[in-house]
């Protein structure tokens, strides 16, 4: 007696005489459309375990692996704590490693691939990170590293993809990789991205992040999608030992007179509309309500427009461009990374000082060249929107300038992290905010856990 399991677009079909043990599994369903039993691909290991326990023969037709073996040409060298993280993950080969930016999560991942020697799909948030992972992986798996994202789709034994592309392609690629690595794994539990984990049969899974927590509480789902936290290191533990020490300076600028007037007008409009709807300004759930209401309620829509206008003014004021000039003058010898909230300000900074721009509206070819040159030290400064928030490794950045952002602690930690790779001197973080506006409170909120 036995069953055959095969792959079908993110699910598994189970054929043969299914014994009761399999039929009554909560995750197995009879699919009348094809007259066979079906399950989500992620239950592959569970299915095998149950079948084995029931003494059932299994014909496994799930895999169309991209290669037989992913053996490293060059072994990775691990620091003691990285080795510890790897060995605690290796016990179950499923789980999450939490480590601050700069502590070398990629090394742990390369160590894990070298250990399993199996075809691997690495999922990362941005195209910049795809390039960075590729460059790292190539050193250890020369000729066997592929990428899969918008501009470039070439699979190999170890393939790096973005969350977006992996979400779209998992039905086709899922059964080619037995090992899934999620970089910045806190992205995974979103309703769309989680399907990468659900529609893949990969039994081995590794998640990497500096901070697992999500505001929406969905991070608890990472445990069944990837595995439990198997290793955790806090920024406090890492500070000064493995990553650079830092100093934060808040620079306050003022709106120009015209901007100030405009801001006042918008603020009045916003607050009066809010009051009319019985909503409070400070409450974030009330803000959510406003967003929901704006679908039907033209006044709510107007209020939202006013709020966006206010934000835009704060983030884009001329005074911020001026502040950047002063910071650049002060740090003539340093390498500087500038973050903005809106692309338009990033563009203004780029055009004014002739600093390369890394945002979505710049061609990937140029972005790639610019990133490589920056890493080689041929460029002194970069300005970017949200593209470089996460993970991208910019080794010698000494100065980070934050020209606007959300109240998110995570975003702040990550942006700061760009300057925190281990180096002898202290890193300097500038936060440029607009005085006398609500940006002051936002800035306080995002820094609350950092000092």
């Amino acid at each position: 007696m036995g069953v055959a399991i095969s792959w079908d677009r993110g699910t598994l079909l189970i054929e043969g005489d299914l014994p009761r043990e399999l039929r009554r599994l909560s995750f197995v369903k009879f699919d009348e459309r094809v007259g066979k039993f079906r399950t989500l691909a992620m239950y592959y290991p569970n299915l095998l375990a149950v079948a084995r326990a029931a003494g059932l023969g299994v014909e496994d037709r799930v895999w169309a692996l991209h290669c037989l073996e992913a053996r490293p040409a060059v072994e990775v060298e691990l620091r003691p704590y990285q080795r510890q993280a790897l060995s605690s993950w290796a016990r179950t080969k499923r789980g999450v490693v939490v480590m601050p930016t700069g502590a070398g999560k990629t090394h742990v991942a390369i160590g894990a691939i070298s250990l399993l020697k199996t075809p691997t799909l690495v999922v990362v948030p941005t195209v910049e990170l795809v390039q960075q992972w590729r460059a790292r992986l190539v050193k250890h798996f020369p000729g066997r590293v592929g990428v899969w994202y918008g501009e470039e789709k070439r699979e190999s034994c170890v393939t790096v993809s973005t969350y977006d592309s992996a979400y779209a392609a998992v039905e086709n690629l899922g059964n080619r990789y037995k090992f899934l690595i999620f970089d910045e794994v806190h992205h995974l539990p979103s309703p769309a991205y989680r399907q990468i984990a659900e529609l893949s049969p990969a039994p081995y899974r590794l998640g990497l992040t500096a901070t697992l927590e999500r505001a929406d509480g969905l991070h608890v789902d990472v445990e069944w999608l990837v595995g439990p936290v198997v290793y955790k290191m806090t920024p406090q533990e890492a500070r000064g030992v493995w990553t650079a020490d830092y100093e934060i300076e808040v620079v306050k600028v003022s709106l120009t007179e015209g901007e100030r007037e405009m801001y006042k007008k918008l603020e009045e409009k916003y607050l009066s509309l809010l009051r009319r709807r019985g909503l409070k300004f400070k409450s974030s759930t009330d803000f959510q309500k406003l967003v929901m209401m704006s679908g039907r309620d033209p006044q709510a829509r107007e209020a939202l427009e006013a709020w966006r206008g206010m934000r835009r003014l704060l983030f884009e004021t001329e005074a911020k461009v001026e502040a950047v000039r002063q910071i650049l003058e002060r740090h003539r010898e340093s390498r500087v990374l500038i973050f903005t909230e809106y692309t338009s300000l990033a563009r203004k900074v780029s055009e004014t000082f002739l600093i390369p721009l890394v945002t979505h509206d710049v061609n990937p070819r140029e972005r790639e060249q610019v990133m490589a040159m920056f890493k080689r030290g041929e460029l002194r400064a970069l300005v970017t929107g949200k593209v470089l928030d996460e993970g991208v490794d910019l080794p010698d950045v000494e100065v980070v300038v934050i020209l606007g952002g959300t109240a998110s602690v995570r975003q702040f930690v990550q942006r700061m992290g760009r300057a925190l790779r281990l180096k002898p001197q202290k890193a300097k973080i500038y936060e440029v905010i607009t005085a006398g506006t609500r940006e002051v409170a936002t800035s306080k909120r995002r820094r609350r856990e950092v000092k």
Binding site: D8, R9, G10, T11, F27, K29, D31, R33, R38, T39, L40, E171, P191, A192, Q195, E198, L199, M292, G295, R325, L328, E329, R332, R347, T352, F353, L354, I355, P356, D361, V362, N363, R365, E366, Q369, V370, M373, E378, L379, R380, A381
Partner: protein, 376 residues
């Protein structure tokens, strides 16, 4: 298709409909703005400051941009020029004053062996909005309105959990929809009902949970469906965590573009050749109506009288057996033509009404089978 951000809907209880545009004036306005704008950026600004319904205008503008012929840019050259400017800038300590900025452009121009003005011009071409609109779309406001309305229906289906579709049983129509669905790797179940075909579309994982995963693919079926002229779409759509019913039909919806999917085309030259030969002696029906066999849609290649004919190119015994079993359940007389060279099995495994041919099927191979059904 337009992004979800521009979707306009009306909700009544648990029923949702696209908020169609019924007045071509806004479409005309957006077309006018495209004609009077030099660059994509100017066009976008003009649309933004036109006031009125921003979602509507943005949706129309999105389509107009896509239909416009925009200046092509040599991406390589743009990147080369910009990288040179940035490198020069880094070498001299960045453009911290307007004078330094000019000097950098000059130095970069010299290195690139280009004029300063040319360098500046190319430098700004990196952004889409600085590109010139060479030719605005050549559609009328009413045509744009139709395209827009179709895009609204599609955008609404982005969030659909499944789509039920009714079509008249006309081979060309059904075939193009089913083919599109297969191309997008969707699953379907078909049923003959209400004087036509009901087809339920969803994805493999749909039996485990209601997922919007297949929404974008389902939306891509819409132009094939509406091209049928007579149609009905029922779907469940999830918006803001609530489920809504969508029930649209050619009667309820405004006129939509009739993009005709490839009609009457043959799958291969083999079929074309066969048709040419047989049609000389018999009246042959190309692409007859669809048969529903075990809830799958099956469209034989030809019909002569009441005999269905299917030409099979590449096949394996297993494939052929399954196909034959399926078709015998339809209880219709059927003749299958199989290429001998591609055949992977011996004679013994073939079914009774399978005819082998060499190279291409000839009239002489099949004449005795088709003769009883033949009508001149």
């Amino acid at each position: 298709m337009i992004p979800l951000d521009f979707l306009k809907i009306q909700r009544r209880g648990r029923v949702v409909r696209p908020l169609y545009l019924t007045n071509p004036a806004p479409a005309g306005l957006v077309l006018e703005l495209a004609k009077s704008s030099r660059t994509v950026g100017e066009f976008r600004k003009a649309v933004e400051s036109a006031g009125g319904d921003r979602k509507l205008l943005s949706g129309l503008a999105h389509i107009v941009e896509r239909l416009s012929h925009v200046e092509e840019v040599d991406v390589k050259q743009v990147a080369r020029v910009r990288v040179e400017v940035f490198k020069t800038s880094a070498e001299v300590g960045l453009a911290l004053t307007p004078e330094a900025r000019e000097r950098i452009f000059h130095a970069a121009a010299e290195r690139l062996k280009m004029g300063v003005e040319e360098v500046k011009r190319v430098f700004y071409k990196a952004y889409e909005d600085n590109r010139v609109i060479v030719q605005p779309p050549s559609v009328t406001p009413s045509e744009l309105m139709e395209i827009y309305n179709l895009s609204l229906l599609q955008a609404l289906l982005f969030k659909s959990l499944y789509v039920d579709l009714w079509l008249p049983n006309v081979a060309t129509v059904v075939k193009s929809v089913v083919r599109a669905a297969k191309g997008h790797r969707l699953m379907y179940i078909a049923e003959e009902r209400d004087g036509g075909l009901w087809i339920h579309f969803e994805g493999p994982a749909s039996i485990f949970r209601q997922t919007e995963r297949y929404g974008v693919k389902l939306a891509k079926l819409v132009p094939y469906i509406t091209a049928a002229g007579v149609w009905r779409i029922e779907a469940e759509v999830k918006l803001n965590q609530r489920k809504y019913r969508l029930d649209e039909s050619h009667e309820k919806a405004p006129p939509l573009p009739k993009r005709t999917p490839e009609v009457g085309e043959f799958d291969s030259t083999v079929e074309w050749e066969f048709y040419r030969q047989v049609s000389r002696v018999c009246s042959v029906e190309r692409e007859p109506e669809a048969l529903v066999v075990e809830r799958r849609v099956y469209i034989p290649d030809f019909k002569i009288g009441d005999l269905y004919i299917e030409i099979v190119g590449f096949w394996t015994p297993d494939y052929l057996r399954r196909k034959y079993e399926k078709l015998s359940k339809a209880n219709r007389p059927l003749l299958i033509l199989v290429d001998e060279e591609l055949a992977a099995a011996t004679w013994g495994e073939l079914m009774p009404n399978v005819v082998l041919y060499r190279g291409r099927p000839k009239l002489s191979d099949v004449y005795k089978y088709i003769k009883p059904h033949c009508r001149q």
